[in-house]
């Protein structure tokens, strides 16, 4: 299917008639429809679904435009023109509103236009559309980009299996196989009922029926066992992930202990620095009164120079020298020396005061030296304290960060978890062995059944009628077996090819290619990603990574089917970061035959835009008029 055109009238917020023509060239196969949130992208996206399948299940509200619904006979329609197998088709669905206000589908038509321009209406249009693009496969071609990560969530194998069955039309083969199987049973019954059997034949038929029943029972058991294995694999994977996380938590806790010890050291250092600072502040008066010290010292020096303060010669000594009239050197005092001593004696103060002044001068000098030291201690103390405060804040931030990393984490005993992992792994191993045994036994049963049937075939029937019944039974049995073999081989082959394609595309899209070794689609249809150590890591993927994996899987299926099918995505990049978006806009247009993107104005940055630009054939802008609540579609390219 390649989409040509979408036309609609009075549908959702689109009042009147609107048209979108889709790009379908080999070089320019991308159509981009841009609109802000609420402009009607999703409405338009669902218009496509609704026109083809009559479903718009997740759209809230009514389909008929609100203003149109007020008219006497409101009527909305959506028309999709598409090409399939060289013919052009137009699917048109109309909708009205009953007098009581309920919406009601009026008609659905599918017309084929032949090369001569003649129009032929297809009978049973729903069935026809379903053959062209099966309803259940449709959601893998028309999808909401933000919801497809379901496909690659652990435990969603059923979704993956359904996707493969739908898209690759395996269901048709399954139905064929089942049908042939039923036919073989009917013929077997007829063979028994025609009454011409001898005991040996009857015995062989009984044996074949018994074997057939055993095989089916064993198939059911095996299917159940495989489901159990898948579940166990998830549980083992979960337990391992928890254990890894616990190891990580231990490392974080060790880090916390270190950071807490550092916090304690910093606090002690800070207290020391604060105490040192407090002591220095206590001695700070000398720093504050530095000018008084300096001035007092200058006064004292001045007085001393003027001889008003004794230099330390005691008053008593001067008096003794004057009375004895003998110099301190032992010679008699002459006149000038006597005058000088008398003058000094006259200027001098009392001996107590003189001593006090002398001591004060000396103490002031010492205090000035201590004040200089205190100044240095104060300056360094303040700086050190600020530095430690900063370190403490940083450290507190680290502790907060650690707490954040641990917040919401489980507390579980490692030993208990390890015990549980071992138990699960043992059960998984047993189940795998059991499955192997079951498969071998089934092979044996099938061989036995084939042998029994061959024996039955080799026996001659007693009548022509009997021989005919036998031949019919043989043919139906052989056909059913052939269909089963074809189905098995085809499924395995397709699974392998989808796996290869998904792996290839995922690696194109993903921005951490080196982190991922391979994508696998397992036998039981589980999508799995192995990391660079070969460990299954699906459970650890982010939502964005899962979305990319799902997209790769869908693109892979599209590639493997080889069918011309469009990929229509609503909000394709809403959840993705810049890197995968640039890879996807580069690669997806090459993989898909036709790509239609419904994007918000913010989903693609300039780089992504410039990368997809050469592939854009058509572009539209959805312009929402807030005053009337209606959207118009403007072609911008």
């Amino acid at each position: 299917v390649i989409l040509r055109r979408l036309r609609l009238r009075d549908f959702r917020q689109f009042r009147g008639e609107h048209e979108v023509v889709f790009a379908s060239g080999s070089d320019r196969n991308v159509t981009v429809l841009t609109g802000v949130n609420g402009a009607g992208k999703t409405g338009l996206f669902y218009a496509l679904n609704w026109a083809l399948y009559g479903e718009a299940e997740t759209l809230p509200g009514s389909l008929v435009n609100k203003a149109a619904a007020q008219e006497p006979t409101p009527r909305s329609w959506v028309e999709v023109a598409f090409v399939h197998d060289g013919s052009e088709f137009i699917a048109r669905r109309e909708l009205g509103v009953t007098p009581s206000g309920y919406e009601r589908e009026i008609s659905f038509t599918l017309s084929r236009l032949d090369s001569g321009g003649r129009v032929k209406e297809i009978q049973d249009p729903s069935a026809y559309v379903n053959v062209i693009l099966p309803k259940d496969a449709r959601r893998y071609f028309f999808f909401d980009g933000e919801r497809i990560d379901e496909l690659s969530r652990p435990g969603h194998e059923q979704e993956v299996r359904e996707a493969v069955r739908s898209v690759l039309k395996l269901k048709v083969l399954e139905r064929t196989s089942q049908h042939l199987d039923d036919a073989a049973k009917d013929y077997q019954k007829a063979l028994r009922q025609q009454g011409q059997l001898d005991d040996e034949q009857r015995g062989l038929i009984d044996a074949a029926e018994e074997l057939d029943r055993s095989i089916r029972a064993r198939e059911d058991e095996l299917a159940e066992l495989r489901q159990r294995i898948t579940k166990l694999e998830h549980q083992v994977q979960g337990a391992r992930a928890k254990l890894d996380r616990l190891v990580e938590i231990r490392e974080i806790q060790a880090e916390r202990r270190e950071v807490e010890a550092l916090a304690e050291r910093l606090r002690a250092d800070f207290d020391d620095a604060s105490e040192t600072l407090r002591e220095a502040v206590g001695r700070g008066a000398a720093v504050v009164a530095a000018s008084a010290l300096e001035r007092a010292r200058a006064v004292l020096e001045e007085k001393r120079a003027a001889g008003e303060i004794p230099t330390g010669i005691r008053q008593q000594l001067i008096e003794d020298l004057l009375r004895e009239r003998i110099c301190i050197c032992g010679r008699p005092l002459d006149e000038p020396a006597t005058e000088a001593l008398t003058a000094r004696h006259g200027h001098s103060v009392s001996s107590d005061v003189a001593e006090s002044v002398l001591n004060t001068a000396s103490d002031i000098r010492l205090l000035q030296a201590r004040a200089a030291d205190t100044s240095v201690v104060l300056e360094r103390g303040v700086a050190r304290r600020a530095e430690l405060r900063e370190d403490m804040t940083d450290n507190d931030r680290r502790l907060e960060d650690i707490s954040e990393r641990l917040r919401g984490d489980f507390t579980e005993d490692v030993a208990q978890l390890e015990e549980s992992r071992r138990y699960l792994e043992d059960r998984l191993r047993d189940s795998l062995v059991e499955a192997k045994v079951g498969e071998r036994e089934m092979g044996e049963l099938r061989a036995q059944l084939a042998k029994t049937r061959a024996q039955l075939g080799s026996l001659e029937s007693r009548s022509v009628e009997g021989e005919r019944a036998k031949r019919r039974w043989e043919l139906a049995t052989a056909s059913a077996e052939a269909a089963r073999v074809v189905l098995t081989h085809f499924s395995a082959d397709m699974r392998g090819r989808i796996e290869d394609a998904t792996d290839e595309i995922f690696k194109m899209f993903v921005w951490k290619e080196k982190q991922f070794l391979a994508v696998r689609v397992t036998e039981d249809y589980k999508l799995e990603v192995d990391d660079r150590f070969g460990t299954a890591t699906l459970a650890g993927l982010s939502a964005g990574e899962r979305q990319v994996l799902s997209l790769a899987f869908i693109a892979g299926m599209s590639k493997v089917t080889g069918e011309e099918a469009p990929i229509v995505i609503d909000t394709p990049f809403g959840r993705l970061s810049e890197m995968p978006v640039t890879s996807i806009v580069t690669e997806l247009p090459k993989i898909a035959k036709q790509l239609v993107l419904f994007v918000t104005d913010r989903e693609m940055d300039d780089e992504a835009r410039s990368l997809i630009e050469p592939r854009i054939g058509r572009e539209y802008s959805l312009e929402f008029d807030d005053s009337v609540g209606e959207t118009s579609i403007e072609a911008t390219r």
Binding site: G284, R295, A296, T360, I364
Partner: protein
């Protein structure tokens, strides 16, 4: 009028004064600043007194005491740091070393500077000791910067 002998005695007593005082209504400030416990920024009341006197001197705030209250004795001042500092203020104020011979005059000078200084110091009071110590260290740094 006191007899001359009485006056001489009174002068002598004043010159040998041992007690020091703060203004009555500021007593609590000195107590707050110099509590002998873990909460106070300065070790004791006499340290608060010396610090306030130094700050009063540095800011030129000499204020006579309105009503005085006895808070301690001269002997409680440390001989290595407090006494030389108080003496230096008195000498710097009077320009005369002989002021040391008159303890009463000396103490009056430093009491009045402490009385003016305690108001400046009090503006640096914070909620907790740590913050107050930090504020005082910034006060010291500011005064030092002015003197440089």
């Amino acid at each position: 009028v006191k007899p001359e002998a009485d006056q001489d005695e009174s002068i002598q007593r004043a010159a040998n004064r041992d007690r020091f005082y703060v203004q009555g209504d500021k007593h609590h400030l000195f107590q707050d600043w110099g509590k002998d416990d873990e909460t106070s920024a300065l070790p004791s009341l006499k340290d608060a007194f010396v610090f306030a006197a130094a700050v009063g001197w540095a800011n030129g705030r000499r204020q006579p005491l309105a009503a005085r209250q006895h808070v301690g004795f001269w002997r409680s001042f440390g001989p290595q740091e407090d006494v030389p500092l108080l003496e230096a203020i008195a000498i710097a104020e009077t320009g005369d070393p002989l002021v040391l011979a008159n303890r009463g005059a000396l103490l009056t000078i430093v009491e009045e500077y402490a009385n003016g200084g305690i108001d400046v110091v009090n503006a640096y009071k914070r909620d907790d000791r740590d913050a107050t110590v930090l504020a005082l260290s910034s006060l010291i740094a500011e005064i030092r910067a002015q003197q440089d």
